[in-house]
Amino acid sequence: MTSAAGTSDAALRQLLHGLPGVDEVGARERVAALATRSIKKDAKMAALDLAIAMIDLTTLEGADTPGKVRALCAKARRPEPRDPAVPPVAAVCVYPDLVGTAKSELAGSTVAVASVATAFPSGRSSLPVKLADVQDAIRAGADEIDMVIDRGAFLSGRYGQVFAEITAVRQACGSARLKVILETGELATLDNVARASWLAMLAGADFIKTSTGKVTPAATPPVALVMLGAVRDYERAAGRQVGVKVAGGIRTAKDAIRYLVLVNETAGPRWLSPEMFRIGASSLLNDLLMQRSKQRTGQYAGANYFSLD
């Protein structure tokens, strides 16, 4: 869709700034209207299970150790030891140097290993360093790469550089799937979110992702609305279906279900699967398990009935 000439700052600016604008008030109203959807009974049960299956169970702390990652992986493959019907999560998400640990813990399961890369979370490093970061993760066996875009470059209009970096990372990924983190909290406006979404998709993203989880605000419903609209429109224009990942600050089952409603009524039901929609979270999983058991037993179990990993 873009030629070599079309990847200059000026050409990309024309394209991205030519996208329809986003009215912030209207976007918030749409989100508020969709938040009134009442999801009960079968629909709620299905949503809870689907949300669990869509989780990228995440630990991205300086203090991460192999022990911590092993515990996380055990939870990922069997979130509820008392009930094997609870699906495993979609993936775990860790720093590159812990990918190896995660891979061996998850061997034989359906849970993928996603690694952050490209000087996560700030993205403030040279391209060679970022690519080396990616290569480390790939060599260690990562199935998915969650890269960050250079927000400084984006906000100063160097769209060509952002494009080139994503393309280079996409190439370094090989057969691994690439998620591109826009860090929407730093992009600030919904217009920027729309533009960054398109830029990432044009450069080859398999997923566009809201946040690193290290900056507030992280994922918000209006941001998700814009990104879901972008992937819908991109597929119509370019014939390729790109996924969306919301990450950061999603702690309750209620929030997760609201996002599923957004997916359903914005991008459409074809995005309602772990192939096309992910939720980056850690504490959310226990709330989903608690709501799930409440639906089945009629009672809320205490927090200590759900493992802390």
């Binding site: 209207g26 009442s38 629909a43």
Partner: protein
């Protein structure tokens, strides 16, 4: 991925989420509310009101005849002279605040009752109708002791008895729009709700009792056209406020001509919703949908003509069709319903007749696939493309979920086409360019111009139209003027 759960259906079916009707207890019959009491019509006449979503009867209400109109106006006159006019504004305000609070406390009851009697989705009655109704009472309560600051003179005086006739599309909200300013200004009221939607007005009368409102200050006469005509003709009524069709508005204006009775009319519309090539597309589509499908299109200020810039016609209509496919038509009491029932068989017939005319005129008709219930009055959301200004569906108010799509080339042409109607109630403008919003707002002949939004109401904001959309304004300081002698 093996073992990945899928949702039960490929399309995620939201399970039924009905609001319980148990919160409301509807009596088998209701009397007229005159002088603080409910009583049957003197001649015993009754009308039935049904649930338009199911055609089930809900209740029988009294049909007020001449004797009842006389009794109500007399009660209102006595209450005006002896109680309400002498009462200081701050005291009147207390009753209005009390009514507002009780409406809020009984909000769920009002919302469910409104949806049962009118057919509109519970989400709308709960989130729009009831909160706005309470807001009007709160707002005008605040004016009751500040009339000398309304810019209408140092001592503006109330007129006396106000006869108020309201339509079936927003039964409770229209009652609030009428009663609140009239009472705040010191008038007493005789309210005639619409024939097909009397129940929330009667519940409001109960709230007036609950608030201890002095007898005769508010009277509610249920009935049909004849009741309204008798009220309009009554010499004891000093002021008529009417919201409804342009035809009936004209009749009332004729009846009142030559008398000293003051009159305000809020009538029909055929509003233009104008979408430019630089509009925020997704939000514009929401605005178009809201503009014509909110309340099933039973809105005087509905954006029933989409004027889309020709260069983006295909893009907008494609997005619109995709969006319409996600609209949920069905049980008004289901919290996930977007579009409810048409209020009456009569209205449904009108909508069908005009839609057939649209096809006959050569416009292209489209509706999303919809499973409409067997019983009740239903009409699928409908779009007509290829419409021109000379088509009936571009000129006549359909008052249903039917959108006529026309095109324009330049801003000048948009203004000309938008204004090329005998109506002038509202308009919408969708563009990312602020200067263009201001340019259009100055030139559009419409009582309210919405910029990148639609159907936004506030008690502080005056609402009303030009030309055949009526005269006078409701809401804000302007809304007081109709009820005062400066």
């Amino acid at each position: 991925m093996a073992g990945t759960p899928q949702l039960a259906d490929p399309a995620w079916a939201y399970a039924p989420a009905p609001e319980s009707a148990g919160i409301v207890s509807i009596a088998p019959e209701y009397g007229l509310f005159i002088d603080g009491q409910f009583r049957p019509a003197a001649a015993g006449g009754q009308l039935a009101t049904i649930n338009p979503a199911t055609e089930e009867p809900l209740a029988r209400v009294a049909e007020a005849a001449q004797a009842d109109v006389d009794a109500a106006v007399t009660a209102a006159t006595v209450a005006f002279e002896r109680v309400w006019r002498p009462m200081p504004g701050a005291e009147r305000a207390k009753y209005l605040y009390r009514i507002a609070r009780i409406v809020q406390e009984r909000a769920r009851e009002f919302a469910v009752l409104e949806s049962l009697d009118n057919g509109k989705p519970i989400r709308e009655s709960r989130d729009v109708d009831v909160p706005l109704a309470a807001a009007h009472f709160f707002y005008y309560a605040g004016w009751a002791d500040k009339l000398e600051h309304a810019g209408l003179g140092p001592q503006p005086r109330p007129l006396g008895v106000a006869g108020q006739i309201i339509p079936w599309n927003f039964p409770l909200l229209m009652a609030a729009w009428k009663l609140a300013p009239a009472l705040a200004a010191g008038n007493t009221c005789v309210l005639k709700p619409a024939e097909t939607t009397p129940l929330t007005a009667l519940l409001l009368a109960e709230v007036c009792q609950q608030a201890g409102l002095p007898p005769g200050v508010v009277n509610v006469l249920t009935g049909a056209g004849a009741t309204g005509a008798a009220l309009v003709a009554h010499p004891g009524v000093r002021k008529i406020a009417f919201t409804g069709s342009t035809d009936v508005g004209r009749q009332i204006a004729a009846a009142v001509a030559g008398t000293s009775t003051r009159l305000t009319l809020e009538l029909g519309g055929k509003a233009a919703n104008i979408v430019f090539d630089d509009a925020p597309m997704d939000q514009a589509v929401e605005g178009i949908v809201n503009g014509i499908f909110f309340n099933q299109g039973h809105v005087c200020c509905a954006g029933s003509r989409l004027l889309v810039q020709e260069s983006v016609l295909d893009e907008v209509t494609d997005r619109l069709r995709t969006r319409l496919a996600a609209l949920r038509v069905g049980d008004p009491l289901d919290k996930n319903t977007d579009i409810g029932a048409i209020n009456s068989r009569e209205q449904l017939t009108k909508i069908c007749e005009l839609s057939d005319a649209g096809e006959a005129e050569g416009a292209q008709r489209w509706s999303p696939a919809c499973q409409l219930p067997q019983r009740g009055f239903w009409f699928a959301p409908t779009i007509f493309t290829g419409v021109s200004q000379s088509h009936r569906i571009a000129r006549e108010e359909i008052f249903g979920p039917v959108l006529s799509v026309l095109t324009f080339r330049t801003p000048d042409e948009a203004v000309a086409k938008a204004n090329n109607t005998p109506y002038g109630l509202s308009a919408g403008v969708w563009t990312d360019k602020g200067s263009r919003v201001l340019w259009l707002a100055q030139r559009l002949r419409a009582g309210v111009v919405w910029a990148n939004t639609f159907n936004k109401f506030d008690p502080a904001s005056p609402f009303g139209g030009y030309r055949e959309s009526g005269y006078g304004r409701e809401g804000g300081r302007h809304g007081l003027a109709a009820y005062l002698d400066a």
